[in-house]
Symmetry: D2
């Protein structure tokens, strides 16, 4: 196993020419798995069909390049602010020279889930089990896991007909679907007590959270799909993650990237000028009262969806820290961070010890 | 002259209760002038009537508090991102104890302007002359001016009927109105060559810019209205301003606030923890090709108005720098900064030398 | 009692100059009550402050005209399509010559309601009792009532804390607030069985509906406010109402206006060319599956709020029928019409028998 | 030549399953040409990628069905109001039994056009010449033409660099592109004087208009593409078109459908109950002052694009007339109808004489 990380830009949701060039440049014979994690531009409304267009383009690029290895794709809508549309392609190949030293990747998918299995104990449990299989697939121990990406089915109103009152209340709520999966990840990682990570906690117990989860939900899948990234061996860590306190916690973000050094922002500056960073992933949350450090914002009280405010703000902060706009930023950090906080994960090109 | 600076929060465009409390706490008999510069929340669409509601509420608060001194009001729409709706009230009074040492304020308005006088040489010239009168009113020299706020009339399509082709092309364009006023400010401040600051430069010569201008335009006024802030005497400067290179130029912004020190971000941190900052004003621009440091963004290619992206991003960056969301951030920096850059101005509670 | 009906146009939510001219032209000494029912333009988003501006302007116009009689105001947001912003002013005066023969108006308000009294049996009961008082106030019998306008409090999430699960589920839902009030009206008018018009029916029993209700909800009131219009005596009816089957039920709408004649559309044409119509009110609903006569629409599956689609469509249909855009059209007909249908009410200047 | 007309519904822009079923049911060997004219749902913003998805799906359906004959596709974005997403497929085949008696169709495309050839005399002339070729292709005389559909290139700001001031002013304006093509159609049909149909008239002379044009513009093509529909022979006319005065001109629309009969609305009712109508196309305009029959609307003064208001209103009116929502409605009738008016065209299944 040798995991290489590539960044590709997109001029629109249907443009995977840069991804195709990357795929064509590698020896597909040696490839055993591919993960693609990308941001798609568009209005992110119920009638935004950019995601479908992007998914077709990605599948077409994989086909044109002759990639027959299994590929998992996570697409997140919305490039508000200064997010550059594009994504990351992680390739697992037998070509050891291509990959980043020590970077481990694992994948797994649950069986197809019925509506009755969603946003409840079964959803949590299915996620837990799938994460454990993905960690095993990565060939690392639980404490070597840096970040777990999860895509979860969404229970729609139509699917919820006849289900429990609890499930009906959680229908059409991405937040509930993400919450269930996040609790399952926390369970698998030993971060949340098994007695507490249950259906009753969904949407209700913000104090329960994983420290290494990024969860997405959508109607395009009927299974929990997991991608695990972690660090193999005892060398410098190629992938790091951590939690920040709120969207303007610049020092917290800098310490996740640079480690617990005296001048973390300065250290990040030195890293970026050395082109040390291969990929950046962020999950952003916001305090449910709409306040930031005690003062009112309009994040939950405007014509814009809260996620649009959050993605734009996050893009500015992380962009200012890294001096770069090529990033993956997504909103909704239920049970993935303390209330109002979020998750940041970074992959390094040439990892060095820096703790 | 003694200028005091107050911050007030608003729970909605019609809520000036906090402003009223401030006004009631001062001895209005001693007040000679008031300036109010505020952000109003709302969709910032053509049918956003929050500005009218806010203007009524501000005028009502001034009336209720018995303020009879002249008052100039600048309202900017849009609190996207984490901008806390609210504003600053600057009060010029004979009560020397109330004010910030060394802070100077001047005001002036042009005569009413006819449509024929807009977005052309006359517009530039009227602004220049009004700025000069405001500087004189402030009792400072040109090189003591820190920032010039200007509100300019907007030439609408209806007003442009029968005017020159150039004016018709510039009709309904806030950017053109701001450009004309900014050129006039640059002229008054000796920053732009008088031969170049002419109608032909409007929208065309981004290399011509003032270094200390923040310009707004709207149909609610038929005159150029100017507020000048500056530093009197030779003591530490209570108001500082400067240009930053782009919206993620965190170090540039930090140096404007903290001066040219070794670790400007760290210096800003120390200032904010000492509650040193009384007011923050930002004018944000974006490169017209929609790129940030070479990479594509969707700022000019999405369902959101470009200003919404810009305000949200700027609020994140300045919020992360200062650890605070109570700020004035507005978009549109035509001839107020180099292409893609912007202006930042800060008033300090207890100014110290820090250059 | 003599009820005069005036139409006024608005150039923006803050413009009540036309209303003021009407009020100034009447002898306010003779006025005992005023009802104002108007459409306010604006984005109809959570941060649309046009309603507050319009309410201020209406109250200011009443004050400037010296109207001291009680005034009830119903403002509905959104003039999508071809709805002309503006409204109707109904004036009850002792000046018999001013009014429309036989037109009756009654008003009543409930006591202030606590959150615990909302979207449940108490809400229904309070509405029933208030409607009965308003009918009594109008001095007519139940079967003489043509239309009941109701403004109801809205239970917000914040208000619902600690209340029943049922109430929490109905919190922030205008539809639930409207449903409760509509059931109460149906009860008062003897249209809905007292055993069925209970909390359990709210949002659940579309087959229960009043035939003469138009209900609005908002956070600006804590009481149920009722305006009843009806026909006094045995002469021709000055106000008529009825239900139509769906938004394109042109013949159904025509029959409500013209009566059960052979060529209802032709009859409406003759009425409008004689300037016979004084006021038009419509409440529009849409089938919850988003289908119209068996075919899919995007009313519930687009970037636009469903109400925006509905108001625009309704404005086209009623505009085409009447050849006029000065109308009151509002969305949300829960328990006010069969599923997918709506209510239309018309006041005539010179009523004639036409049944 | 025998032209068959099929209607297909779409559950989303990427769903052409109904179109595929139609194509699979015909003998593709006999097909010589295909025209597809469809409405695509979506926000119709600059970042609405539904059109690209729909175009892919249509091309894929044609491919899957083995259609190798030339196919022209016109996609119009936006299904506001009650427009059912879907379209019409017109198939020209040698299978005479399949087609509608007397219906003629012609197609032609210009050579690729350079930016210098757009929104000026050359644009008008290229359209005229292409329309003439399409009429010839249809095998009918000019006075047998019922409607000319045109898709025109759009001159973007980027393309206009270095071109004439006139072209730069018209850059990025769909209305100018549509205007140029409409003038060319009017010229080809002998409806506009050759001396008047010139560049100077574009956007300036609303009194010049074709009576049988429906024009669309977009960046997806660099040529003028024409589809002509008309009536062959002297039998009853299978396709009729006409102009209506404004969006609520119900009688005018009815007369276009039913002919100049005593009770046109009643006549339309009888036609629709007999399933007589195969296809409905509408181009809707609005008076540039935003007024409808003397009263103000918010069509040009709201958060919604004017076209969204117009499409929704038009869908209501035509839906009410026909009792059906399966229609093609598009906005922008520059030089295609008098100011404020529009074009309606209808294809009948079993044409009868009705003039």
């Amino acid at each position: 196993m040798s995991i290489a990380v590539f960044r590709f830009e997109m001029s629109g949701p249907g443009d995977c020419s840069a991804l195709l060039r990357i795929l064509k440049a590698i020896d597909v014979e040696t490839v055993s798995r591919v993960a693609i994690i990308a941001k798609t531009e568009g209005p992110a409304t119920v009638n935004d069909f950019g995601r479908a267009l992007a998914m077709q383009a990605i599948r077409a690029a994989l086909g044109q390049a002759g990639v027959t290895a299994p590929a998992q794709v996570i697409l997140s809508m919305g490039c508000e602010g200064i997010i550059s549309p594009g994504g990351y392609c992680l390739v697992d190949s037998r070509d050891a020279a291509a990959g980043i030293d020590g970077l481990a990747m694992g994948m797994a998918s649950s069986e197809p889930m019925t509506p009755a299995d969603l946003v409840n104990d079964q959803h949590i449990e299915a996620t837990r089990a799938t994460v454990e299989r993905a960690i095993e697939d990565a060939g690392i121990a639980v404490d070597q896991v840096a970040v777990v990406f999860a895509k979860s089915p969404l229970l729609t109103h139509a699917m919820a007909v006849g289900l429990s009152a609890e499930q009906q209340r959680r229908a059409n709520r991405s937040s509930s679907a993400r919450a269930a999966a996040a609790l399952g990840i926390g369970l698998a990682l030993g971060e949340i007590d098994a007695n507490l990570a249950c259906s009753a906690a969904i949407d209700e117990s913000p104090a329960l959270y994983s420290h290494r989860a990024m969860v997405f939900s959508g109607t395009e899948t009927d299974r929990v799909e997991i991608i695990v990234l972690g660090n193999r061996g005892s060398g410098p860590k190629p992938v790091r993650s951590g939690l920040f306190a709120d969207l303007i916690d610049l020092d917290g973000m800098a310490r996740i990237v640079a480690g617990n050094v005296t001048d973390p922002i300065g250290a990040v500056r030195r890293m970026t000028s050395n082109d040390a960073i291969a990929a950046v992933f962020m999950k952003a949350g916001f305090a449910s009262d709409g306040k930031m450090r005690g003062n009112r914002t309009t994040v939950f009280a405007s014509d814009l969806e809260p996620d649009k405010h959050m993605r734009a703000v996050a893009s500015g902060v992380i962009g200012a820290l890294l001096g770069d706009t090529r990033m993956f930023v997504s909103g909704g950090a239920e049970h993935q961070a303390p209330a109002g906080g979020g998750v940041l994960a970074v992959i390094f090109n040439n990892p060095v010890h820096h703790d």
